[in-house]
Symmetry: C3
Subunit: 300 residues, 3 copies
Amino acid sequence: MALMVKMRSPAHSWARRLVAAVRCTEWATGGKVSARRFGSQRQLVMVEPSPTAGVAVLKLKNPPVNSLSLEFLTELNINLEKLENDKTFRGIIITSDCPRIFSAGLDLKELCGKNPAHYTEYYKALQNLWLRLYLSNLVLISAINGSCIAAGCLISLACDYRILADNPKYVIGMNETRLGLVAPFWFKDNLVNTIGHRASERALQLGLLFPPAEALQVGIVDKVVPEDQVQSTALSVMAQWLAVQDHARHLTKNMMRKSTADLLVKQRDADIQNFISFLSRDSIQKSLQMYLAKLTQNKG
Amino acid sequence: MALMVKMRSPAHSWARRLVAAVRCTEWATGGKVSARRFGSQRQLVMVEPSPTAGVAVLKLKNPPVNSLSLEFLTELNINLEKLENDKTFRGIIITSDCPRIFSAGLDLKELCGKNPAHYTEYYKALQNLWLRLYLSNLVLISAINGSCIAAGCLISLACDYRILADNPKYVIGMNETRLGLVAPFWFKDNLVNTIGHRASERALQLGLLFPPAEALQVGIVDKVVPEDQVQSTALSVMAQWLAVQDHARHLTKNMMRKSTADLLVKQRDADIQNFISFLSRDSIQKSLQMYLAKLTQNKG
Amino acid sequence: MALMVKMRSPAHSWARRLVAAVRCTEWATGGKVSARRFGSQRQLVMVEPSPTAGVAVLKLKNPPVNSLSLEFLTELNINLEKLENDKTFRGIIITSDCPRIFSAGLDLKELCGKNPAHYTEYYKALQNLWLRLYLSNLVLISAINGSCIAAGCLISLACDYRILADNPKYVIGMNETRLGLVAPFWFKDNLVNTIGHRASERALQLGLLFPPAEALQVGIVDKVVPEDQVQSTALSVMAQWLAVQDHARHLTKNMMRKSTADLLVKQRDADIQNFISFLSRDSIQKSLQMYLAKLTQNKG
């Protein structure tokens, strides 16, 4: 859901950059992705220690725009599971290694011209990622150092705290409707739990992308700081969260979030079928194919 | 629920105007209403084209205060159904043709001294109106050019966006408790989805009517503009909503609202019984009859 | 949950005062509490008339910090039940008779080294208190003239309106996680209904205690006034609430709150078992015992 479908002149600079970037770079990796899925030499997720004991920094590194390919989702899930099970870690700061973009969301190439088995695998990986993040026992802080779009925004919303770089070119939100798509209900639930029902209604229907000041006001991020202070702020906020005993904190977190997560857990299969059925519509596939064909043509 | 019961000196100027207006005008139409319900020469709802293609302007025209008589509710439902099914329309701006009042809410004469069959028909029409508005596939924008009370407020809350004229004499809210009445639970649900639980708790119990600045702050309207800019603002906001593809937008709207609407759909009959039972209490009927008798007497 | 466990240097002055106060005073009453439960010569709850007809002032008087002992909870329940059933009363202002503290929350001595039957009795009294307050037909206003912590905060949240004295040393919030404890789900539900999901998530996990300006901003109180105006403001706010007919107001209140209260009512026993099971963990008992031993030693 990262790329523009049917939107002729993208208004946001992130979108222009995104389209340009995709044209220049992303397609070069095209057909090889699935072949080297588990034997990739590229490292899409980098886990590094932080200055704070017990805190890892997880960097999203799928240039140019951290679009969520199946390979990338899989690596994210694997790395998050490892960190969750490693008792030396109490918190993770999630940030981007790509300039100017946190994540552009789903990789549309995964959604186009593939078979239902592929869509199922892909969507399950996305469901898994959200459930893993949303219910994590670790403290998760998003250090959002670039635009944060659609499923990229979901990753942030599933964290415990969101810090956005104060750059007016960066935007955050769920713009699915702008591509003719509909966010899954659990995207909506996570957004409603964050900014409330009314603001979600408007933001989701209009596909709003909020620049920093508006993002702070609507509550889709918790803090806006100068770009060079995003990481240091993340560390100081993390210290505040780690001052609380883990056990009491994650029982409390679970009490706050379990009922929302359960809405997905209890209907995962129906949710998958709904996604595949929507995606398989001629009108949706045609939109995606036209868009991708246009990109390919432009590359030629 | 439009009129004051047991309130000896209405504090708000809208209420004074309303009482005066009712005394002068409304009773003149009294007994004839039901007879010409479907053959009315009065046109209570005016549907006009707007400068924007695909957008209709629906004007409420039941002077003096747009109180929601059965005839008026019926015409509203018919007109809205027609617009919903007419593929040339994508959005409706709902506004008032009566000066200084958007709608004063339910017509108390429909609630007093009638039989249960009448109450049932009336209340069903109200349920239908709300369900139709709340789940409409069209973009609905309220251009609130006057006070907007009780069930009149409900009409606005069921829209996608609310613009209120910046006139300190205009107020918006659900004041049922001020009349000794209780708003139905779906009024409450729609309000909670708009301004949150805590603000609703206070507003509904106290029967608060918010002037423009407070209305904006609590979030019961989305925008306050000078009175002569209400219609033009409605058109420009409409353009923003129409920039989104209809299909994705209304699937998203449905995802946001269906569970709330279903709470009513699943217990429509029980809700009707509850309403009739409340309305049939001696104390409630006595209040209404005393109030109406006083109005008649004053007219004499 | 009133006292600090494992927190070596309490940051808040209320906590330092609290620890000091407990050391000096509270233990003196220790073993005798249960013996004179129903024959107490101390009066822990004072009910006084107010200048407004129909309004009682209920003063919490369990010095030094109004910690909620079983005796105190029982007296509260008895007094509230009496007021609820006395038709001369329409509203209660709840305030503290102890300087600088509204209530420090649960009495940890009730949670430590006792048997399951005692825990059950204690926790049931707490459940009863909340249900009684949250669904009261009376107008309840909290005149919060001191720090208001954990279950003390719950008492305020269950009221209809909260006025906090503007003293930067006073804080309000639910700090259970700071003691290694977890607030019951109905504390959480009441908080979410008051300040929303996102703010509750952060406040509960971090165990935040808000000073007046922050408390007002997050919405955990409705008004902050100079300390010497807390009582007079409570009376004028009460007048506003009493301007509404009782019957319509409490039907509306019930409509807003019943579904939340029912979540507890429907699983009271499971909630009790969950509480006892958590409390009986070695790690929790050890924390409490170490803390209490330390207090006793310091007294020696």
